[in-house]
C-alpha cells in the first residue's frame, strides 16, 4: 500500500514537472540557435566536411565522441568480464 502511494506521489511530482516544462518551453520549431548557426556556416570551411552532423560529432565535439567510444568500450569489456567462464564451472 505504501508502495503504491510512493509511486503515485513520484509520478505526480515528476509528471507535473515534465508537463510544465513542455508547456513553458519556447515554441517548437523556433529554436534559439546562436551556436548552431555558427556551426552550420563554418562547418565546411573549418572541417571540410559536408555532413554537419558528422562534423559536430567528430570535430566540434570530438571529445564527447571520445567519451562515447569509451563508454561503448567499457560496456563491452564489462559484459565480457561479467559473463566470463568461471573456474568452478565445468568446461562443457
Amino acid at each position: 500500500m505504501t508502495r503504491k502511494v510512493v509511486i503515485g506521489l513520484t509520478m505526480v511530482i515528476v509528471g507535473m514537472m515534465l508537463f510544465a516544462v513542455a508547456l513553458m518551453m519556447r515554441p517548437f520549431g523556433e529554436p534559439v540557435s546562436v551556436m548552431d548557426d555558427y556551426i552550420i556556416e563554418n562547418t565546411q570551411q573549418v572541417t571540410g566536411a559536408n555532413n554537419a552532423v558528422s562534423a559536430v560529432v567528430f570535430d566540434w565535439r570530438g571529445y564527447d565522441t571520445l567519451g562515447e567510444a569509451t563508454v561503448l568500450f567499457t560496456a563491452v569489456t564489462a559484459v565480457v568480464m561479467l559473463l566470463r567462464k568461471r573456474k568452478d564451472e565445468a568446461p562443457e
Binding site: 556556416e41 566536411a49 559536408n50 555532413n51 571529445y63 571520445l66 567510444a69 568500450f73 562443457e92
Partner: protein, 153 residues
C-alpha cells in the same frame, strides 16, 4: 540452427549488408551516416549470422579476444587521429587542406566529394571498428552464455 530457407537468405543478404555498412561508414562525412551507424549496420550482419546458424558454429569464427583487440585498436585509431593535431590542440583537424581528405568545399550546396572532411573519415573508420567489434562481442558472449544455460535460441 534455423531452417534452410533462413540460412540461404542469410547467405545472400550478408554481403549486401556488409557492403552497405561499408558505404555508410566511408561516406559518413558526405552524406548522412557515419561510424556509429555504419558500425551498427555491420554488426547487424553478425547478428543475422548468429541467429541463422546458432552460436555453436559462430563462436569458432569470432573469438572474443580477437574482437576485443579490434575494438581497442579502433578506439586507438580514433585517439591517434585526435593526437595528430596535438601540436596545436587536441582534436585539431590537421588534414583540412592537405593531401589526404583535404578538399575544402565552398559554403552552400555541394556535390559529393569523398576527399573532404580532413580527419573525420579516419575517425569514422576507427569508431566503426570499435562499434563493430564491440557489438559483435557482446552478442556472441550473450549467445554463448544463454545457450549454455539452456534457455537461449
Amino acid at each position: 540452427m534455423m531452417s534452410k530457407v533462413v540460412r540461404t537468405i542469410t547467405r545472400l543478404m550478408t554481403p549486401a549488408i556488409l557492403v552497405f555498412g561499408l558505404y555508410v561508414i566511408m561516406h559518413g562525412h558526405v552524406t548522412s551516416g557515419g561510424g556509429f551507424q555504419g558500425g551498427a549496420v555491420f554488426a547487424s550482419a553478425a547478428a543475422l549470422l548468429l541467429v541463422a546458424f546458432g552460436s555453436d558454429r559462430i563462436k569458432d569464427h569470432m573469438r572474443i579476444p580477437d574482437l576485443t583487440v579490434i575494438s581497442a585498436s579502433g578506439a586507438l585509431v580514433f585517439i591517434g587521429a585526435g593526437f595528430a593535431g596535438i601540436a596545436t590542440t587536441f582534436f585539431y583537424n590537421l588534414f583540412v587542406g592537405s593531401a589526404i581528405f583535404g578538399h575544402v568545399p565552398e559554403f552552400g550546396p555541394a556535390h559529393e566529394d569523398i576527399w573532404t572532411g580532413g580527419v573525420i573519415p579516419i575517425m569514422n573508420i576507427g569508431v566503426a571498428l570499435n562499434v563493430v567489434a564491440g557489438l559483435t562481442a557482446v552478442m556472441v558472449v550473450m549467445a554463448i552464455t544463454s545457450s549454455k544455460t539452456g534457455d537461449g535460441e
